[in-house]
Amino acid sequence: MVNVAYPVNTFSITPFLVGTSLILVTAVSALAYFLIGKSEEYKELKASFDKMINSFNELDEQAKLIVKTDLELNKTQEELDRRLKGLNTLQKLSRTMSMTLDEQEIFQKINKDLLSELGFASALVLTNEENGALLTRVNIGIDPSRQERIQAELTADTQFLGALRDGMTFSSLNSSQKTRARIVQLFETEHFILSPLLTQRGVAGALFVGNRYNAPAVNEGDEELIAILAGQLAQSIENSQLFEQVYRSTRTLETKVNDRTRELSHALKEVETISKKKSEFISAVSHELRTPLTSIKGYASILMTGKVGAIPDAVKERLAKINTHSDNLVKLINDLLDISRIESGRVEMKALPQNVVPMLENIADLLTPQLRDKGVTLKLNIPADLPLIEYDASQLDRVFINLIGNAIKFTPAQGTITVNGHPNLERAEALFEVADTGIGIPKEDLSKLFDEFFRVDNEINMKVKGTGLGLALAKNIVEAHFGRMWVTSEVGHGTIFHFAIPFQHKPKETKKTRKLTDDL
């Protein structure tokens, strides 16, 4: 309250004061009312602002949640990407590893780039040697002096080797604190995986991969990836070692085969030399025998005529025996000489393309008396379209005569002898068979049948004389025509002699024979 010391007229002032007071009261009331209103508005505004701040804060909280979720998603994605990349790398590696069986080349495939793609900076591949020691085959990012120490320490650690043999994988994720500390100290890496190289034959070695201290820790995915890599590596090493073994065996076998072939070749040469000497010997002896034999036979014939004086019947009879035996001997010597000539290649085959039918018909005529005497039928089954064959008629007829003559000898009365002929176009040759319905040949004698002087031990052979040279001669003649001869027989049912003569005298070289020649 302010005291005013002015003289005032109370009667004139009073109404003024009342009016002023009223105005003031009204203004104050209005102001108060206004202020009360503003205060309400402010409160509303403040409430709205606070609400907005809260909304922003809520938005931020939600953003934190989004970030957290996004990071987790990213983490999963990154892990998935790493896994994909790793698998992709493994696939590439597997493909390249499968392309080689060279152990050294397999190890070369594990390089720095590959390791980096798998997310590791260092690696060591150790393999078990025959003496039990571990040997480093791959070293990426590990100091060579440390490498030697690792090799020595791990080789000496039987417990560790035993664990590897059991297929145990060590890693910075799953190993005990003690083991982990030891591997970290030994390899000088913080994060690692040490996986055995397991093969079917046991542990071939170990694969180590690692990262330094600032790298991310290994996880289960890394362990699986490295286990796959170790498995593939082990498989490749095993394949390579198996290949090496097979290769060595093959080489040994090849050496043995070569040695044996050389020995056989040497033996064959010796046999050929002996055979040649034998042929020459037979030839020489035969010549030497034939000359006096001819004289003996000549003198016997002269004596038999009685021109040098009459001879008694008993002598005549004995001279006739001398004559017959001389004839047999001459035939034997001639056969021997022929075999000897053919074997030594001294007989030149005068092969001409010709039909075999006329030759066979002549032979049939020639043998008709014998066939008739024995009561045996001869059938010729030669097709008309059998191609011409290049052969020496003077030689091949001996083959047929020999075979048919034999058949007559061993076929009982009413039996049949059949001569079949047909072409084998695939081999460009004519196949002939001389089949009889005779007594047959025991199995054990079949392989010796073409040996010189061999005669089957049977009743007929005991009665009928023979040299045992006919079949040997026939076989020699067929082979001199580049053909082949064999026999099939069943005791009691008959025998079939087969032989093949090429259409052309000199057989063409086939792929098979060329390959055989190359191999030799």
Partner: protein, 408 residues
């Protein structure tokens, strides 16, 4: 003579052999003795003087520029190692090139101005269509260089650039200019003559959480956000979380570890988005360092007072970015295929796309035509005018984007 363009690439392990193979590939396609322009992108192992000499000997280029990169864009995919060559022979297109070295000795803006002047001096033709440049990734303020270039070139000329580097760790940069391999340089190329030009730059990052205000910044350094050290923005979102993803085996800072240099992949997956004058449009900034006081260092300039968000992008949006940029070019050329497309793709996108990132560029050829040659590089930052609704924005340093330059 019409414009002839050839792209060659090789990733043969021996760098010299790779350079030879790529150059011969180009030479075979062009069937010419000399070339007017060669643009060379290599990964670190392939940047060697003998290789450069081999390329020059085989292609005999009048002008050669290039850069190292963590990934070379060849047609529809990104090659993580090797050498890529784009060669042009043309009497319709004109080129001028220059370099400014020893950047450490001159102010960045001054370097930009000098580069523009040197390129104009070499170019000599009146009609300019586009300006392309590479800037050393170890230099931290690309925005100042852009300002210098704008000063020299004016604001009407389309400018695109790439901040080069060898990897996200920013440990090694090299540029190729004529016969030399250079460090601490910026290299520019003027393209002009007949033919339309279109530049399209897109990012598709989306804001996350509440907006905050940059209340103090210093060029490319954000000092404080909402009155707190800038790095607290990341701490706010990532502290107390489990370990973040670890892409490609690279070292990874845990979310709670926000010391300088420890952000690593978090900065790539969640960059900063600076609000612009246009609503809902953001300039992306990838932090390249955190200082001891919690300030965040970026490559581009950050104006104080700007709103800032943490940004996020999903895979489908990331893939759509390429389509959006290619569609803009197609519209510009009225469905006629361009002569070639030069692409700068932020390596950030690789972090977002993961395993399939190398095959994300197919959309360019799907939209522009299967026969259009596409060549480019992965970058840490791109320089272009960002796509804005309804008006032309000035050329700026961008992160996390795809920038396409098409010459029609």
């Amino acid at each position: 003579m019409p414009t002839q363009i050839a792209i060659g690439f090789s990733s043969i392990k021996d760098p010299l052999e790779a350079c030879k193979a790529a150059a011969i590939d180009v030479k075979t396609q062009l069937n010419a003795v000399r070339t007017d322009l060669v643009i060379l992108f290599t990964t670190t192992a392939y940047a060697n003087p003998e290789g450069l000499e081999t390329v020059r000997r085989i292609l005999q280029p009048q002008r050669l520029i290039g850069s190292i990169t963590p990934g070379i864009i060849v047609q529809d995919h990104v090659e993580p190692r090797g050498i890529g060559i784009l060669a042009i022979i043309s009497n319709e297109l004109h080129f001028g090139a220059a370099d400014i070295d020893r950047l450490g000795l001159i102010p960045t803006r001054e370097a930009g101005l000098r580069l523009s002047q040197a390129v104009i001096e070499d170019y000599k033709f009146p009609q300019r269509s586009a300006f392309l440049f590479f800037y050393d990734g170890l230099r931290k303020n690309g925005s100042q260089l852009c300002a210098g270039l704008r000063e020299g070139l004016g604001s009407a000329l389309p400018v695109i650039g790439a901040i080069s580097m060898d990897s996200s760790q920013l440990a090694f940069t090299r540029h190729f200019y004529q016969t030399q391999i250079l460090i601490d340089t910026t290299i520019g190329l003027m393209i002009g003559g007949a033919g339309a030009v279109c530049v399209s730059s897109r990012h598709n990052w989306k804001p996350l959480g509440k907006p905050r205000i940059i209340d103090a910044s210093d060029g490319n350094i954000i000092r404080t956000i909402d009155k707190q050290p800038a790095a607290h923005l990341y701490r706010n979102y990532f502290q107390n979380m489990d370990a973040a993803p670890v892409p490609n085996g690279a070292s990874q800072g845990t979310p709670s570890d926000l010391r300088p240099g420890q952000l690593n992949d978090l900065r790539l997956l969640y960059p900063l988005g600076i609000g612009t004058a246009t609503p809902r449009e953001y300039l992306i900034r990838i932090p390249i360092d955190i200082l001891s006081d919690g300030s965040i260092v970026c490559q581009g300039e950050i104006p104080a007072g700007s709103p800032v968000h943490l940004m996020i992008m999903d895979k489908s949006a990331c893939r759509r970015t390429i389509q959006d940029a290619a569609l803009e070019i197609r519209e510009h050329f009225l469905d006629k295929p361009p002569k070639f497309v030069l692409a700068f793709e932020s390596f950030t996108r690789q972090k977002v796309l993961g395993y399939h990132a190398t095959h994300g560029l197919q959309a360019i050829r799907d939209i522009l035509g299967a026969g259009v040659p596409v060549f480019g590089m992965q970058t840490i930052a791109e320089i272009a005018a960002p796509a804005t609704a309804g008006h032309v924005a000035p050329t700026q340093l961008l992160n996390g984007s795809v920038t396409l330059l098409a010459i029609g």
